[in-house]
């Protein structure tokens, strides 16, 4: 935890190795409990979600056949946007995490799933599941942290390029799925000559094919189908808007997951030889939740429970809500920050950080940015309870 210890407030300084160990055991128990109780109800949930999403998509596309009429355009566009969001977030992202592999249904399995996104499933799974989830918030290892084009921590040296980062971030938001495809391709690494040319070419071919398929569907076939009613232009527009809508939404949700104030970053060396407990700890304090309604949680693919998702990326998303109660309690007892807030607040906070870090440290220091990081007092730290003679739980 050396990266943390450098900070003015080290959020884990109060924990002994024994505390961290006990934290790991408690979280392992939470995990085991969910695995033991996984069953028919959960299976029904994901099947129902897929059913609803596909019917919504079909319905919306049918309505768009008449999109030259304004109400049809509005309804169809809204429906298609929601359907695309569900497909990527609550379904695609989570299925590809293997959250539903336990059902052994080849139709809903991480190894067979393909999603409506520019990044092909296998590339995404590699960079997301293997890199992002393993190296969560580790500077220089986690692509999600600034997507390689942004300055995400005061420790990163400032160069004038970063002045534009609020703009880069906005552009990335609008074309987010292509941004994802680009960093799943490890475009940055390739440009620096650190990626095998043959592999890059092969992957590029896959992405190209995927993008071609998506574009043909959204911008050629469906508009053509709507042509007989004179709705081809509005259908094309509706597809473009729903793709834009989904891009902005997913970008916001993902930015909220690791970027708001209060979320910690780590250095490469700090995670060497990490124990299970330390790994859990990094996932917890490196992520932030979004609070809100059930519909909001589903629309974020339950990534609003980012902390729980990072602790247990392969547990079914519909169970994160109940896991969060336990995790919050653990955080209280161990004196750990459980970062959470409503969507607008978290989005604003993340953007503030983007803006702050676009400036050199000495200038940023002069501008007052609200700090959300306040020390948390542990209510029942195992090591202290033993100190006072109480029996550890």
């Amino acid at each position: 935890m050396t990266a943390l210890q450098k900070k003015e407030h080290n959020p884990v300084a109060h924990m002994t190795p024994e505390d961290i160990d006990s934290l790991g055991k408690e979280l392992d128990a939470v995990r085991a409990e969910i695995i033991d109780s996984r069953g028919a109800k959960d299976a029904a949930y994901i099947r129902r979600t897929i059913d609803v999403q596909r019917k919504l998509e079909l319905g919306s596309r049918a309505v768009l056949l008449f999109s030259k009429y304004k109400p049809a355009f509005a309804l169809g566009t809204a429906g298609l946007t929601v359907s695309k969001i569900l497909e990527n977030m609550e379904i695609g992202h989570n299925v590809m995490h293997g959250q539903w592999d336990w059902m052994r249904d080849p139709k809903i399995h991480s190894t067979t799933w393909e999603w409506d996104n520019a990044s092909p499933a296998d590339l995404w799974k590699h960079s997301h599941n293997e890199l992002h989830h393993t190296y969560t918030n580790v500077l220089g290892r986690d692509n999600d942290l600034g997507y390689g084009i942004m300055r995400v921590d005061e420790d990163q040296p400032w160069v004038p390029f970063y002045l534009g980062q609020p703009v880069w971030n906005f552009i990335n938001a609008c074309f987010f799925e292509y941004g994802i495809a680009a960093y799943d391709l490890e475009l940055g690494k390739y440009m620096k000559g650190r990626k095998d040319k043959a592999v890059f070419k092969r992957d590029l071919g896959k992405v190209g094919q995927k993008v071609r398929n998506q574009m043909t569907r959204d911008y050629v076939i469906h508009p053509l189908l709507a042509a007989p009613t004179g709705s081809w232009g509005t259908t094309l527009m509706a597809n473009a808007l729903s793709n834009l809508g989904r891009n902005l939404w997913t970008h916001s949700v993902i930015m909220c997951g690791h970027f708001p104030e209060g979320v910690e970053t780590f250095t490469k060396t700090s995670i060497e030889g990490e124990s299970r407990g330390e790994w859990y700890l990094r996932q917890m304090i490196g992520s932030a939740n979004i609070s809100g309604s059930k519909a909001m949680h589903i629309a974020t693919g339950n990534l609003s429970y980012q902390i729980e998702h990072h602790l247990f990326p392969d547990l079914p998303s519909n169970r994160y809500a109940e896991i969060s109660v336990k995790v919050r309690d653990i955080c209280e007892r161990y004196g750990l920050q459980y970062t959470s807030g409503p969507l607008p607040k978290q989005v604003a906070s993340a953007w503030m950080k983007v803006i702050r870090l676009s400036l050199p440290n000495h200038i940023a220091a002069k501008v007052k940015f609200p700090s959300r990081r306040k020390p948390v007092t542990p209510t029942a730290l195992p090591s202290r309870r033993v100190d006072t003679g109480e029996v550890a739980a």
Binding site: G39, A43, D51, R54, D105, K107, H109, W113, D116, H222
Partner: protein
């Protein structure tokens, strides 16, 4: 008969254009471009799960209790069902507590106008699938299934004299055969064992066939008469040597029969169907590495790699789950596995691609399987 990868992942995104070039395949391509990354059938499934041409499913249309712990399930198979030969089994996949599980069941129905087929299941204490089917399945539910398979069937030229030897739920394939062929058979002896009279599945129908002299029915009740031995067999069916024989029942019974027929030099006249493999002493386990999935799984030496892989969430191809259909075969690149039935160890040296049946193979040290 082997259907390699028959239960393998049906890739949502992979191209699976139906055969035949021309306008049909072009139309299908266009349809696929409309639904990408899904397939058109994924949308058809929303409204009619039996229509799809790539996976076979069935709807449960009736459930009939047979005995205290056995029930017959009538199924309407989907569009691509190719029919069965009496005596064959089908595999069905059901979601037990959310988890897809596959088991084989013999087809028990006779000729039907409506295209439905039936299977009859005896609930086994602690049995995941059999208990689910008998106790929790509901009319109207969809189950996954596969085309019929199996060689426990009558030959084309019907033998004059037949002996059918069954025990417990082993009556099922035999019932399937009798319901189709009893009118064409001249001389049939059915020697059936069950614990008590009330445990006999299809009792009324069998006893009626016996009463009408269609078959000679010899019913034994093991709670009262004990397990049958060769002496009793000789006494009950003195002319067994002259009879083409089909036997299905518990492993012990089948072993006894196989030994007896072998000794008499009549092994070729005995046809058996096993519901479970007979197992040898287990050995040490090991680590199985699935090369394509890049997953490493610890396996003990007593359980099939198939079961352990499935439990770990790996999508494993499978079939009969007892070593007869080769539906579970995977190439082994390196390492060793032990045949759970014989204890025999098979090893591969790097570069090999020895095909092993995961349903009857346990890990014996480390081994790399291509999946």
């Amino acid at each position: 008969m082997a259907h390699l990868l028959s239960d393998g992942p049906t890739q949502n995104a992979a191209g699976r254009a139906p055969g035949g070039a021309g306008w049909r395949s072009r139309a299908f391509k266009l349809l696929k471009a409309t639904t990408t990354p899904l397939l058109p059938e994924d949308y058809v499934d929303l409204f009619d799960p039996l229509r799809t041409s790539t996976v076979l499913r069935a709807r449960v249309v009736d459930i009939v209790a047979e005995t205290e712990d056995a029930a017959t399930v009538v199924l309407r198979p989907g569009r691509t069902w190719r029919g069965h030969v009496p005596g064959q089994y089908i595999r069905i996949g059901v979601d037990v507590d959310g988890v897809r599980m596959w088991r084989a069941y013999s087809v028990t129905s006779g000729p039907r106008e409506d295209g439905c087929i039936a299977i009859t299941i005896k609930a086994i204490t602690g049995g995941a699938v059999s208990t689910h089917l008998v106790e929790s399945l509901k009319v109207g539910q969809i189950v996954q299934m596969e085309q019929a398979d199996g060689a426990f069937v009558l030959p084309e030229v019907l033998p004059h004299k037949i002996l059918l030897l069954t025990g417990g739920s082993g009556i099922t394939p035999v019932m399937g055969i009798l319901r189709h062929a009893v009118e064409d058979l001249d001389d049939v002896i059915l020697l059936h064992s069950a614990p008590r009279p009330e445990d006999v599945i299809f009792a009324d129908e069998l006893r009626e066939l016996g009463a009408n002299d269609r078959i000679t029915l010899v019913e034994r009740h093991t709670d009262e008469h004990g397990l049958m031995d060769t002496v009793e067999l000789e006494a009950l069916v003195p002319d067994w040597r002259e009879r083409e024989t089909w036997a299905c029942g518990p492993a012990g019974m089948l072993e006894m029969l196989e030994g007896h027929w072998q000794q008499a030099g009549h092994a070729h006249r005995l046809h058996t169907e096993r519901f479970r493999p007979a197992l040898a002493e287990p050995g040490e386990g090991g680590t199985v590495y699935f090369t394509k999935a890049d997953r490493e799984i610890e396996c003990d030496g007593a359980r099939p790699i198939l079961d352990i892989g499935e439990e770990a969430g790996v999508l494993m191809p499978s079939g009969c789950r007892m070593g007869i259909c080769y539906g579970c075969v995977l190439p082994m690149r390196e390492g060793s596995v032990r045949d759970l039935r014989t204890g025999e160890v098979t090893s591969a040296t790097p570069g090999d691609g020895i095909l092993i049946q995961t349903c009857i193979s346990a890990a014996a040290g480390r081994c790399d399987l291509v999946l």
